[in-house]
Symmetry: C3
Subunit: 355 residues, 3 copies
């Protein structure tokens, strides 16, 4: 009997099947502290029990991205261990606050699969949900990956392509239950700007830069119990096309998001990801910078104390966008491609007090 | 009055004396999170309060090796600050679960001492026990080290050589009190193999590799408050025979053990170490791989829901044992020696559900 | 509306104004564990709930320096983001124990400002207080920094120079409320020397050396949510006069203080800083050593079970003061300057049991 997990191949994914992922994880104060130490996160809702209680929460909440990494990390072993490429995300929504002490589990349902014309690979679509110890959903998202076929010689005929949401509609955004902004103060965040102050089309340069070391991205990725081999094994990666370890894209998101605090301090939560791309790989030693572009702003049904802000969060490596112009995309061989220094292009919905 | 601790010399160890080690340590959720981040540990008993409770535990337990490192770390200052060599371990048994919030202390009793013929050094044997805040023993082991004599000119005549257990008998293995496997499920570990599925002589290659950085082994070793100088001082180690810092062997055990999750996911606990060797030194930048060989399997008295598995856990550096053959030992100058890439050879007893 | 914080310039500081600093921070077990892992701290009051309770505390307390870093870190964004130089500290007193679970906030009052003759910069003095969730002060200090003027052309006429305390008087030292030494035992610290055993003029070499990596000082500084750019941005620091990241001076204090455990194990708390200097910059890869010189010892009003010890704590890089003589200062160009290997010269008051 084979003991080790070889990962799933294209043929192993059955349409409609549910993959219950190991390992359930109790998120603790220890994870919270490490998250701050690894990313520089300063959003006060995750740092101060007092601030959180003043807004109707039980105590400080777990950073939305830490929740995402925990839920996502569990899926790697079943979904993407044999992935050729991570093709996309869609319809990611945060549904409920997570507190230190909550235990998270992840389940993915196969919602689509399509064999590629080469016969060597196929695309698998899953809907993943993260659930707490009471069975309440805290997070859901769609993801699609290209995976190897076990047997390139035998066609499977799979051609079930699901429709992915192009964006998360405002009506589907979930404001954390019990959120009470009647006592909201801005000194805990230190930010002077609110939902009303941001304009569609506005660009905010987040000024600061953060260099990342090998040990830092590995500590983060192990904390999330993400087992993708490319992040940890310098010996094996020597013979890869990069010649070295690749940083977990989620750590890039977290660091860039933490940088965005400077200029978007009153953000209360990430409500949803509409979509995003890891535009270029990031390696240890890279310094990350960030800017945001306001794409849309919408009132939230039944609330006049907070609104939704749609922003494009851009991460740039080894070039300071306040010092030199870094276009998001450049023309190369007649095609628009991401600028080689752009590493992240994330389109997301944020929750912010109105004034 | 001398203020700093010069460590104990051979003459300072009195047969029968008890060394009560500083510093007692409350193990917390913070230590747990760091242990995951530093080693990649995924055994669900230490990650999920819900899983732990379903088996009769109060909450998630502290990884056995984290308990070991905490108990062992305290002994360094008194036992091995002047050690020439760590000669061996024997009879190491885990006796009781440790929970976040428990406070550990360590006491070592000198159970043997023998002067070497050179007159410059001697061997000291201690029995160390780790105890929680209720005075309950959680861990015990024998250890022997070669230490410098303070005065090489004056023979001490010491020749008390105690008998060390060659292995821990099955009858001495302690199953955690209250362990209830009637509701055991395998999705939390993700492993399909149980005690019944492992065969004596079987070898499991654990597939993954993990590179370790200087900051990582130092963070781990400081977390355990282990004060051995060789791990922390690059300036002083420049003139050592290695020219650089040496990784704490315990961190190697932890990482290799974490790698062994892939293929032995349903392991519930380490019950005992029969013995082991740090076969070669490990340095920052090394990539660790692991394999296990099943040495024995035995039922446990009074239990049909779980059994004991005796395994040899082997750690290898900078060579992937699934890609090239790495024999445990090789012949050199007419002697069997460990292969130069083998860094750990640990013989231990594991607890696993029967099916 | 500008969204990002450009930091305050000299003209922005109004005499008497109160700066309420973002971000309030609940200190947790996670922060405690990271502090041990990053610094090697072993003072048992911060490690063992049992030891702390035996002395009348609720549980293990937060290391005084961790409290300092948390309180100080918050002030950077408002006080020193545009600082040309950190000129000094004075009158720093620890006023009350901090426990995991407490939420800290920082407020700074502008108590002085003086324009420099160049017209380009000025000096600003602040009194900063750290407060817990009950509004009780846990820490206070004075600090003065040189900051850029926004407009070098327009003189401000500011010349309010406050008097800074040259030292903290013994009568102003605060022994933690409820401290009960009647059951004090020394095995938890492992130290044999008490207040009575230290002599004015005595020097204690702390023996051990600790090398610090980039990721370590960045993890520490991010944990404290200190946003000073020089510590994090390798890309920008390439063009600085050092050509690389600079270590947060507070991390140097913490590591050197942790090294001082060897020889001053029975220290119960830091009561106050009289003053100090970051004598030379510290960079990743440097190895820190430490010595202490006893400057004064004084009984504490109303207590015969503990006394105050005034010590100079000296940090040295890349030279072992037990192996080569490192004078604190050397003559250069006719001036006394710090020896180039000296990185810290801290004058502080410690609390220690009398015997």
């Amino acid at each position: 009997m084979a003991k080790t997990n070889p990962g799933n191949f294209f043929e192993d994914f059955e349409l409609g099947a549910e993959l219950v992922h190991a390992v359930p994880r109790t998120v603790t104060e220890g994870d919270q502290a490490l998250y701050v130490a690894l990313t520089g996160d300063r959003f006060p809702l995750h740092c101060s029990a007092e601030f959180a209680r003043s807004l109707g929460f039980e105590r400080e909440t777990v950073n939305d991205l830490l929740t995402f990494h925990m839920v996502f990390g569990k899926t790697v072993n079943d979904v993407s261990l044999n992935a050729v490429a991570n093709l996309g995300y869609a319809g990611l929504r945060f549904l409920r606050p997570v507190y230190p002490g909550d235990t998270l589990r992840s389940v993915s349902k196969v919602v689509g699969k399509k064999e590629n014309s080469s016969g060597k690979t196929g695309v698998v679509w899953v809907r993943t949900t993260g659930t707490n110890q009471r069975g309440e959903m805290v997070l859901e998202y769609y993801r699609w990956v290209m995976v190897h076929k076990r047997d390139p010689e035998t066609p499977t005929g799979a051609k079930d392509i699901p429709e992915m949401p192009a964006e998360v509609a405002v009506s589907e955004l979930v404001v954390p239950e019990g959120l009470d902004l009647s006592r909201y103060q801005s000194w805990p965040s230190g930010g002077a700007a609110f939902w009303d102050d941001y304009e569609v089309g506005e660009r905010i340069d987040h000024v600061d830069g953060m260099t990342i070391e090998e040990s830092e991205h590995m500590l983060a990725t192990r904390l999330y119990q993400n087992t993708a081999k490319v992040h940890f094994n310098a010996h094996a990666m020597e013979s890869s096309r990069f010649g070295k370890r690749l940083m977990y894209g989620g750590h890039v998101i977290s660091v860039v998001r933490a940088l965005s605090f400077n200029g978007m301090e009153n953000t209360l939560a990430i409500l949803a990801f509409n979509g995003g791309a890891h535009a270029n790989p990031t390696f240890a030693g890279d310094t990350l910078y960030a800017w945001s572009e306001i794409l849309d702003k919408q009132p939230l049904p039944g609330r006049d104390d907070c609104g939704a802000l749609r922003a494009r969060l851009v991460g740039v490596k080894n070039a300071d966008p306040t010092q030199e112009e870094i276009p998001l995309k450049v023309e190369k061989d007649g095609k628009k491609r991401y600028h080689p220094n752009v590493v992240l292009d994330l389109d997301y919905w944020l929750l912010m007090p109105t004034a």
